[in-house]
Structure formats: structure tokens, C-alpha cells
């Protein structure tokens, strides 16, 4: 009897644990306790009051991108590691909306293993930014960096365009979305195309450089400057980037993964070859070659002139 009871308890425990461990895998949203509702346009539930199976539309802002979730830096965490465990019941209790969520610094702050990411310095810089100055503590890290889907693209990718696209989408998620922009600012978002009318080849700039290249104050000790400046302080002087000592070298091209890549190849350009920046893309080899050809021409002309004078 004792043996049978032990077996039964073991089976129940195994099933519970197995079910629970499976819930951590975001790549199987249909069987995930939360994602079975929060990954689709609609969700079904049993209305106990009416004893009915009901199907309702999900609030679009509460639908999660499960692919991005599975690829994000926090993919090893389950929903209830950060959200209240009470969310496992439906309908969710209304007071759960008031729960205070943990912030980035709650986990990452003061931890040696995250020291290289400089979270404290990032917080210090972002508190100087125009976002924090105007909106205060409401402007949390997650306004730009979704904890659900954030991936460290800039540190890992060797594709400049991918890094630029990922970074700019963070800004555009609000600055190109009237609802989200208004939620924070209380007024309409500026029309980005018109505001940047002065910028020649606007589309190319938007694809090849990040918004933060011009809209932040560069800090030497940080990989990504988080001090986003007010509009009036944005870089409008072309030469800041279009010069051999380009601003881009201490911002976008600061990443070693990009620098290593650009140092190889026949042109040996300072910046990556996936983009071209007038004035910055100087190939030392071609420069030397052109100087040699130029000097050889002058020497040739001078020699010929001397002979002409001597043989006159």
C-alpha cells in the first residue's frame, strides 16, 4: 500500500513539475499558461457564471511577439518571475493592475556579473535626458527597452544596418505611434519626415545611422549614450559626422564587433563597408596610392621642364 501511495504521489509530482517546466518554453505558446491567450488576436475561456465557452478579442497592446520573446535576453524567465503569480487565474484580479513591477536596476544594479553593462551609469545618464526631465520616474527603461523582447543586437551583430534598424525602432515605437506618444507626452507626435526635411538624403540617413547619433550627448565611458537631448541640441552640423574624425567613430562604430569587421578587406576603411559616409570613408591604401601618382606626375613634369630649359 505504501509503495502504491509513493508511486501515485511521484506520478502527480512529476506531472505537475513537467507541466510547469514546459510552461517556461515560450516557443510553445499554445501550451503556455499565459501565452495561450496573450499570443493571439483572440482568446477563449470558460464563463463560469453563464456556463459558456466564450471567445473574445485580446487587447492588441497585450499581445506578445512570441518569436521575439523566445529570442530576447530574458527568455529564461517565466512570466510570473516578474508578474504576480495571481495572474494565473482568469479573470485576472483588478488590483493586479496596481502591482509594482520590478525595474531593470532591481536585478541588474550593483551586480558584479552585469558590471560591464554599466547599468548604474546608464541610469545616471538617462536621468539627465529630456525624457526623464519632462516625464520623471514614469519614463522607465522599459519605455524604450521592452523587457519581454529586448535583444543585445548592437553588441552581437556585425551588420550595421541591423543595429541601426533595431535601435531606431525603439525610438519609432513611440515617436511614430500617435497613441503611445500621446500616452506619455499628452500631445501629438511631431511629423518626423517634415521635422527632418533639412537633412539631405533623409531616407539613407534613417537607414544607415541611429537617431541617437544626433540626438544624444556622447559619453566616452558608455557604449550607448543614454542622455537624449532636447530637440534644440540635436546635431545639425554635417561636418560632425562627415570628417575623418567623425562623431560616428565614438558612437555607432564604437562597437568592437564592427571595428574588427571594417579593419579587414582591401579598402581597409575606418568605418564599415556596409555604409558610405562622405569624408569618413578614407582608404589609407588608396590615399597613399593617389599621393604617389600625383607626386610622380609632378616629378615627371618638372624633369621634362628642366630638360626643355637645358636643351633650348
Amino acid at each position: 500500500m505504501k509503495y502504491r501511495l509513493f508511486t501515485l504521489i511521484s506520478i502527480i509530482l512529476f506531472c505537475t513539475l513537467w507541466h510547469h517546466s514546459k510552461a517556461q518554453y515560450y516557443n510553445d505558446p499554445e501550451n503556455h499558461e499565459c501565452l495561450k491567450c496573450h499570443s493571439g488576436q483572440a482568446y477563449t475561456f470558460h464563463n463560469e457564471l453563464m456556463d459558456l465557452e466564450e471567445k473574445k478579442l485580446m487587447n492588441p497592446y497585450f499581445i506578445l511577439d512570441t518569436v521575439a520573446l523566445a529570442l530576447g535576453v530574458h527568455n529564461l524567465f517565466d512570466c510570473t518571475d516578474c508578474h504576480s503569480y495571481e495572474y494565473v487565474t482568469y479573470p485576472h484580479a483588478s488590483n493586479l493592475k496596481l502591482e509594482s513591477l520590478i525595474t531593470c536596476l532591481d536585478c541588474h544594479g550593483g551586480d558584479e556579473s552585469f558590471a560591464s553593462y554599466q547599468f548604474e551609469k546608464i541610469e545616471e545618464e538617462s536621468q539627465k535626458s529630456i525624457h526623464y526631465q519632462v516625464y520623471g520616474d514614469n519614463f522607465t527603461c522599459s519605455k524604450c527597452h521592452s523587457q519581454h523582447t529586448y535583444a543585445a543586437t548592437a553588441r552581437t551583430s556585425s551588420d550595421v544596418l541591423e543595429i541601426v534598424d533595431y535601435s531606431n525602432k525603439m525610438c519609432l515605437s513611440c515617436h511614430n505611434n500617435m497613441n503611445k506618444y500621446q500616452l506619455v507626452s499628452g500631445h501629438e507626435n511631431p511629423q518626423l519626415i517634415q521635422v527632418h526635411d533639412w537633412l539631405p538624403n533623409q531616407e539613407l540617413h534613417f537607414k544607415h545611422v541611429r537617431c541617437i547619433e544626433c540626438h544624444t550627448e556622447i559619453v566616452d565611458g558608455l557604449m550607448v549614450s543614454h542622455n537624449i537631448q532636447e530637440k534644440a541640441k540635436a546635431v545639425k552640423n554635417c561636418v560632425e559626422c562627415h570628417t575623418t574624425n567623425s562623431r560616428l567613430k565614438s558612437s555607432l562604430y564604437k562597437y568592437q564587433n564592427l571595428q574588427k569587421r571594417s579593419e579587414t578587406g582591401i579598402f581597409n576603411a575606418v568605418l564599415s563597408n556596409e555604409s558610405y559616409v562622405i569624408g569618413t570613408h578614407q582608404s589609407p591604401f588608396l590615399k597613399l596610392l593617389s599621393i604617389i601618382i600625383f607626386l610622380a606626375t609632378l616629378v615627371g613634369v618638372a624633369t621634362h621642364t628642366i630638360f626643355r630649359i637645358l636643351k633650348k
Binding site: 538624403n201 561636418v239 575623418t244 578587406g265 563597408n273 556596409e274 569624408g279 606626375t297 613634369v301 636643351k311
Partner: protein, 202 residues
């Protein structure tokens, strides 16, 4: 190279084109170098860009005058290359410049009404005017409207490849300009050919 009587070599349309082209090319070279080294340039980035673009358009329009002018007038005959002595003729001219002219030899291809350019000169003009300049114009316009350029050429940006090619062609033209100006001093007197391109008479 000396001829006893003067020949009317350069008609008005040709001199207008040549003047316009000369001015445009000089501005393009100066602004082109400035854009690559803006920190050591006396021209601002915006002015350099605008001047480069405007001069580029002027040189392009000038090129059309040159191209059409050569078709509708008989100026094109000076550009015809004969297969006979294709290599030998320009070599003879090089020999003259390198050796002959210092040893009282006569120019192997003296200019006449039938021959405005010596063989070496003709080859260079053909390469520059029918190959390099059209390519520099095409790449220049591509860079003016970069969205039309192919995005990637293997691992390199299409704009990057176009820009390198454009700069290399521009550099070739600069070297050509130095040689062109220098060879122009080899006349009856060093300023004789310069006078000709102003008044048309050689």
C-alpha cells in the same frame, strides 16, 4: 608642331564648351578633395556639396554640347583612329616627347587642317571624353540620387563602391588635367596654345 600660317582650329561653340568644362572641372576637383578632407578645407561642407553638385550639372550640360557638337559638325573627324599604326603612331609621339624634341627632331605628326591632335593626344582625349567623363557623370548622378544605386555589391555597400569609383575617376581626370596643361605649354612659345584656345586660331 609649328605651322607657317594660322589655322582656325577652335570654333566658338567648342571654345565655350572648353571654357565651361575647364571651370567646372577645376571647381569639381577642388570641392571633391574638400569633401574628402573637410577639416583641412577652406570651403564649408554645405558649400562644397552645393558647388560640387552645381558644377557637376554644368559639366554634364557642357558634355552634351560637346557630344552633340561633335556629331553635327565635322569636329568628330579629328577623333577617328586609323587601325594602321594603332600602337606605333602614339609610341612615335612618346619617343618625340621623351627624346626627339630635345635632339632637334621635327614633330612626327605636325598639326594641320586635317590633323588637330597628334596620335597620343587623340588617344587620351578619346579615353577621357568618351570613357572617363561619361562614367564620372553617371556615377556622379548616381551619388546625387543614391536611392537608385544597388544596395549591396557582394559584401560592400553599392554607394561605397560607386563613391570609390567616382573618386578614382575624378582623380584620373585631375592627373589628366595636370598633363594636359603641361603639354599645352609645348608650343611655339609656352603660352601659344593657351592663346589659341581663347581666340580659336592655331
Amino acid at each position: 608642331m609649328a605651322t607657317s600660317k594660322k589655322i582656325y582650329f577652335y570654333p566658338v561653340w567648342l571654345r565655350i564648351w572648353h571654357g565651361l568644362n575647364a571651370l567646372g572641372i577645376v571647381i569639381l576637383i577642388v570641392t571633391g578633395i574638400s569633401l574628402q578632407n573637410i577639416e583641412s578645407s577652406f570651403i564649408g561642407f554645405n558649400s562644397a556639396i552645393n558647388l560640387h553638385n552645381i558644377s557637376g550639372v554644368v559639366v554634364t550640360l557642357g558634355y552634351l554640347i560637346f557630344f552633340v557638337g561633335n556629331i553635327i559638325t565635322n569636329n568628330s573627324k579629328y577623333y577617328i583612329v586609323k587601325p594602321k599604326g594603332f600602337i606605333k603612331r602614339p609610341l612615335k609621339q612618346i619617343y618625340y616627347y621623351m627624346w626627339g624634341m630635345f635632339h632637334n627632331m621635327k614633330a612626327p605628326y605636325p598639326l594641320s587642317e586635317k590633323r588637330k591632335f597628334n596620335p597620343l593626344q587623340k588617344y587620351f582625349y578619346i579615353i577621357v571624353m568618351y570613357l572617363v567623363v561619361p562614367m564620372v557623370i553617371i556615377t556622379g548622378f548616381a551619388l546625387l540620387f543614391p536611392e537608385i544605386i544597388i544596395e549591396n555589391v557582394y559584401n560592400l555597400s553599392g554607394v561605397f563602391v560607386t563613391a570609390i569609383f567616382h573618386s578614382a575617376l575624378g582623380f584620373f581626370i585631375s592627373i589628366f588635367l595636370i598633363i594636359h596643361l603641361y603639354v599645352a605649354t609645348i608650343g611655339k612659345s609656352p603660352i601659344d596654345n593657351f592663346k589659341s584656345i581663347f581666340n580659336g586660331w592655331h
